[in-house]
Point group: C3
Chain length 341, copies 3
Amino acid sequence: MEFSAQQISGILGGQIEGNPDVKISKLSKIEQGEPGSISFLANPLYTQYIYTTTASIVIISKDFVLTAPVTATLIRVDNAGNAFAKLLEMYNQVKLNKSGISPQAYISPKATVGSNIYAGEFAVISDSAQIGNNVKIYPQVYVGENVTVGDNTTLFAGVKIYSDCVIGKDCIIHSGTVIGSDGFRFAPENEEGNRKIPQIGNVIIEDDVEIGANCAIDRATLGSTILRKGVKFDNLIHIAHNVEVGENSYLAACNVVAGSTKIGKNCMFSGQVGIVGHLNIADNTIITAQSGISKSITKKGEVYMGSPAFDANKYRKAYIHFRNLDALAQRVDKLEKQGKG
Amino acid sequence: MEFSAQQISGILGGQIEGNPDVKISKLSKIEQGEPGSISFLANPLYTQYIYTTTASIVIISKDFVLTAPVTATLIRVDNAGNAFAKLLEMYNQVKLNKSGISPQAYISPKATVGSNIYAGEFAVISDSAQIGNNVKIYPQVYVGENVTVGDNTTLFAGVKIYSDCVIGKDCIIHSGTVIGSDGFRFAPENEEGNRKIPQIGNVIIEDDVEIGANCAIDRATLGSTILRKGVKFDNLIHIAHNVEVGENSYLAACNVVAGSTKIGKNCMFSGQVGIVGHLNIADNTIITAQSGISKSITKKGEVYMGSPAFDANKYRKAYIHFRNLDALAQRVDKLEKQGKG
Amino acid sequence: MEFSAQQISGILGGQIEGNPDVKISKLSKIEQGEPGSISFLANPLYTQYIYTTTASIVIISKDFVLTAPVTATLIRVDNAGNAFAKLLEMYNQVKLNKSGISPQAYISPKATVGSNIYAGEFAVISDSAQIGNNVKIYPQVYVGENVTVGDNTTLFAGVKIYSDCVIGKDCIIHSGTVIGSDGFRFAPENEEGNRKIPQIGNVIIEDDVEIGANCAIDRATLGSTILRKGVKFDNLIHIAHNVEVGENSYLAACNVVAGSTKIGKNCMFSGQVGIVGHLNIADNTIITAQSGISKSITKKGEVYMGSPAFDANKYRKAYIHFRNLDALAQRVDKLEKQGKG
């Protein structure tokens, strides 16, 4: 795919400075630009590169004032970052626009499949599964019995979805992620020894959810484990049985949420956060990396840090003293000696 | 599948109050009950729901005294929780009762396969593998060369088992879990640069073990990495080469156990616990979430907390002071000023 | 495979003491040796076992002085550990020496495939992929479009590699690992709600890299996420978009490295370490288990501990005081009372 500055400017509604006929076939960072690539300048810290880049085209803000000559053709737009994001998206759509059902896929005759789907090699769509329109199922995906997958959703290679789970529309699930595995619940008091409590609920993933690679989201014991609309997960996240994650909450890599905890809307958790079971976490809660939440959070919009976590500002203050505990202890030593002197 | 209150009461050995002919086809929580579902009341906190639930049948204790009328048919039993668990198990058994070998599975002619097994699409059973009776191998599972899988074991979709590993009877291994990958051992001192130490041992998983989704259990360098009878693992757990986990120990999500450590019996580790290599952990040890164990634990039945971890009660006490370190430091400031005054 | 002491001694350039015709077919630890196995003695802590082992052959140092009779045939070499490692490697090579393309593998007619490769059942090699010579692709591996895999590399069962990624020569990637999944980047300020930033970069893995099981290595937004030559990863590691890991750095299990961070050469990170995004970590940095790095590290060869981490020795000293905080607080109480007295 090759595009001219003229064509791209047309798509973005921009204005060209330089050669409108120069052509590009890929996208690059401005500091790594090369002939035949298009880049952009939005972050002031990168301003210097506009004068040295060898990218053929650079998207730049309408009101950016050049202080030296540039070799790239410029396309001036209102917001260079947004304009470049639009190009990225177009590029991605073209690249990921797969369709057709591989003869090596297995689709149960008892499954229902929408129009214009992609099903790659060695994918399995089980009995009673219901697959919407424009769904992309990459190779080696497993869609269990009675699973529903909404329109326009993409399941990358090797995703595994256990029976009875429900995936919404416009979702993206990355490779290796497992949805609907059994919750970790046992009844140790049973006279026959530790006995598994059967996990017969499911997982419900609402629309517009993205889940990273190699996550594990357990089904509910009864009822549903739920990820609400717009939830975004990074990689390697564990969600236990009967958890609910509220709308538009973002969980970074290696988060662990124990059973039956309810997380509010618009939360943001950094990497390696752990949350104990049976808690309620208020909307807009922010949790810093590696923190552990052991109590419910009722006030919205607070920031937590530590393990067990408390108010992040207080934690940071306490931690400064922790770093200097040796000095503090010596001061107490000295005071004691003075007292005795 | 539809069952009447009469039939279910017969199975559970209970007594009916209400319409014995009412039918149900699913199981629900009492607070989410709906017509056509059966629920139970065991937790006193949920007592209120017995009067409002729309579940068609509720299992309840023999000695529970109603204080208002109910619409559901009641089945009275000795222990409502156990009775419901029994129903769950029956439901699960019916649901998971898969059998037959898919024509799209690959079973080596050199493998040995028991009776009544299930082998799903695109599963691989390699040369010299030995699969017991009633084993369920879901789609896209990989059973390497010379692997043994005991009777009644279930391997969910996409489990990968490297060569020479041994899986016991009545085990359940969830999707994405990898068993028998190489241990992380290198000989950095070698003149040819960092060199891999070949990992030629195996993993032995004894009977009645359950392993969650996306775990990684490395093979031993020599000898065996061992999970003893009754061990239960949550999701995303890492077990390094030559580790041994004792009987009936429970590890929650995202535990990390480094090489050659031996964990005793009946231990319970919360989420995100890390354990250094070459340690011994006594029987009945409890470790709280996110703790890090850096030394062997010799006394049985203790509770550990912190990173590095020590006695949990002492940790909690120290942590209270940590939260107030700023105040403590100010008190020392004041004492110093008084001393100078 | 059976070998005599004579044959093995010839391979290792050693000297035999005892029966040169005794045969072995497997390798064992000296403390677990059994007839028909070969073992070695290198660690002085295991010296006692030379006199009790039932291994048929033991490799031992040239200058080791026996203080009692032994039953095993000895092979004396300069360095028993290295000699045994050499045997392990030979054993491993024979065992893993798979070749041939399964009729159940899918190889796109548009892919390029080198000589002497192994491609197992239900493996997928997509359009425009380029596979080098002697590459081993185990069952159920997914190699996306336009992926390059260098000579002699092994991809174990179920590895998933997204389009456009580049894997070097002599690499080993273990089961379940995902390479090239989308980075976790969203543009929350967008008027259309939280919007995904397309991730159109790739992952570049240089030569001689080993990656454990169930890792997740995200592709770059633009440009490349890079693992340099000789990098070694344990299991369940998360590497975010645009990260670079320097030559010969070792990351233990469950490390998390956030976006755009650059890690130097020869670093060693213990398990469960987390590193914030956009940092630079100097060469030869050592980080202890469960530590969290929140600032760039500029000085080479330092050891860090804690979350947030600082100098490990200082951390250990502070932590000793933390363990005794209750006592320190009581001492301050006492001083205050004395002041008032």
